[in-house]
């Protein structure tokens, strides 16, 4: 980037000359607009979650969370994330290795395909599995004959979750590994390391913070997914209800306090995700690819 020597005699940007910033009034107005907009659209929803969760006191809160159905929803959400996140990590590393370390025909197309789930409505992500595995689905009769249950059961929920969280790890690792190039691995190989050793001792340490970043986002979405999971789950209480689905059921039963109690756990997860994400960006910004955001 910019040569430090050149920078030293370039005009000092921090001294805000009137030419390159707005008038004091304009700045104040823009700041007020920003705070008001973010306050109304981001902060208030977050506050209301915790306010409603504790509206009937701490006892009601802990009681809502110790309900057997809530407990099983929490367990199912953890189980689904524990299966789908590692699978997407293996895929993400594998796809990033193929795409970043090699030049081959159709690479750009493959990269586009990996991003595809982001442009599909979550409901459609669930629907495609219903069309495949449902009673009237393409494989429905065969599955039934062999006694295999996918839809309205845990395997369907896991599949739908994998679908919607599919790109997270890959799209974090691909630009990062591309940026780092092949030099380190080539050096390791020429020193006698085999492919696995080059990956394990060279590549993985190089990308670990980027990988963690991807895992964090992938996990947040996996635990919070609603639309896709809602279509394939069948909403069987205590069996195929994840936490977000349980929030919906409780809310529709006019049990707002319990719904918000479960929601507060998910909001807590979101806050922890944001804090960790910010810490990663602050401490290891250079080692995480420039592609921020989603």
């Amino acid at each position: 980037m910019a040569d430090p020597e050149i920078k030293s005699y370039a005009p000092h940007h921090e001294s805000q000359s009137p030419a390159v910033t707005e008038s004091r009034t304009a700045r104040t107005v823009l700041m007020i607009v920003t705070f008001a907009f973010l306050g109304i659209f981001l902060l208030l929803p977050l506050i209301i979650v915790f306010k409603e969760a504790f509206a009937k006191g701490i006892e009601a809160y802990t009681q809502a969370l110790s309900e057997p159905d809530t407990r099983s929803a929490i367990r199912l959400t953890l189980l689904v994330a524990a299966i789908s996140v590692p699978l997407n990590v293996v895929f993400g590393i594998s796809a990033a290795w193929a795409i970043a370390k090699f030049e081959f025909k159709g690479k750009a197309f493959l990269t586009t395909l990996i991003d595809l789930p982001f442009s599909v409505s979550p409901v459609i992500s669930g629907l495609v599995y219903v069309l495949l595995f449902g009673a009237q689905g393409l494989l429905g009769a065969w599955l039934k004959a062999h006694g295999i249950v996918i839809l309205f059961a845990v395997p369907g929920i896991v599949l739908a979750t994998i679908f919607v969280t599919f790109p997270f790890v890959a799209r974090e690792l691909i630009p990062l590994m591309q940026e780092q190039g092949n030099g380190d691995e080539e050096a390791a190989l020429s020193l006698g390391a085999n492919g696995w050793q080059a990956f394990w001792y060279v590549t993985l340490p190089n990308v670990k913070w980027g990988l963690l970043y991807g895992v964090l986002l992938c996990n947040a979405r996996a635990m919070g997914e609603f639309g896709a999971v809602s279509v394939v789950s069948g909403h069987i209480r205590g069996l195929t209800n994840t936490m977000p689905l349980h929030v919906e059921i409780l809310y529709n039963e006019y049990n707002a306090a319990a719904a918000f109690a479960v929601a507060s756990l998910l909001a807590g997860l979101a806050l922890v995700t944001l804090v960790l994400k910010t810490l990663l960006e602050m401490r290891y910004g250079a080692e995480i690819a420039a592609t921020r955001g989603h």
Binding site: A19, V20, L131, F199, L217, S230, H294
Partner: protein, 283 residues
């Protein structure tokens, strides 16, 4: 020495000393095919099997058309609102320093991290007639919850980070010397912003709009709580798909999903063209 051909000819991949190409590409392709491609092509196969007349009858059904109009219309309005406010937020985060800037910056990602169902019930509670914001708006005769306006509110929440996070990095790259030059040449601040800065930001703003719009069209979880879900009035297309599925009307669900995918695809194509155009124009 191996006899290197003078003309390389068509080659699937460039040679490399790094191992594992076959394994990683093979695994990635297999996983992609199983999880994404086969299920998605199943959707296309099913809607093709419907036949043109059936497909057309479902797609031109009044309720379907209304649902599509509501989904695309509210997503468009929400994305437009986010373009205005998202750009302001990005500007304030990039250019101004104030205590807590880091926290505010992190907060912008909240809609990415907060499960949509949680956002849905929280926004509904806020905007319901007796909620914190709803109770302020009701005396003014504005109803938000259980109307299409509620859908717009939910989609503004969902789409905000897409605009901010697309525009922000481009703003950080702006060289202030360009502004200084413009000022030296006699441009006032308004002229600099509208004639120098905004054209450079236009491609990023269009991209942010497209991402927020595409996400809004397909959004389900945060919308269904606040929308009221009245057929023909406040029923979004993804919800109609779910309703048709619950009626075991696979044909209708498939057709609506296919038309949604097709419309989103056309839209992204158009936006891509606009982007290429604006890059060429403002480079």
């Amino acid at each position: 020495m191996t006899t290197a051909p003078a003309k390389a000819g068509w080659r699937f991949r460039q040679p490399s000393v790094i191992p594992g190409f076959g394994l990683t590409l093979g695994f990635s392709l297999a996983y992609l095919t199983l999880i994404i491609l086969i299920p998605l092509s199943g959707l296309i196969w099913r809607s093709a099997a419907l036949g043109w007349t059936d497909f057309w009858a479902i797609v031109t059904d009044r309720r379907t058309i209304n649902a599509l109009e509501i989904s695309f219309g509210t997503a468009f309005i929400a994305a437009a609102v986010n373009v205005v406010f998202g750009t302001i937020v990005a500007w304030v985060l990039v250019r101004y320093s104030f205590p807590g800037r880091r926290i505010v910056d992190a907060m912008v990602d909240l809609p990415f991290a907060l499960p949509t169902a949680v956002a849905g019930i929280a926004l509904t509670t806020l905007y319901a007639p007796n909620g914190w914001i709803g109770s302020l708006l009701t005396p003014l005769g504005i109803k938000v919850a259980y109307t299409p306006l509620g859908i717009v509110i939910a989609l503004i929440f969902i789409g905000l980070p897409f605009v901010v996070r697309t525009v922000q990095p481009i703003m950080e790259e702006i060289d202030k010397e360009v502004e200084e030059v413009a000022a030296t040449l006699g441009a006032n601040r308004f002229q600099i912003i509208s004639r120098v800065l905004l054209p450079g930001l236009a491609p990023a703003i269009v991209t942010g709009f497209a991402l927020a719009f595409a996400r809004g069209v397909g959004e389900y979880g945060s919308v269904i709580f606040i929308a009221g879900n009245l057929p023909y009035k406040s029923e979004i297309a993804p919800l109609l798909i779910v309703i048709r599925l619950e009626e075991y009307n696979y044909a209708a669900a498939t057709a609506i999903a296919a038309i949604m995918l097709a419309l989103s695809f056309v839209m992204l194509l158009v936006i891509n063209l606009v982007q290429t155009w604006s890059r060429k124009r403002y480079g």
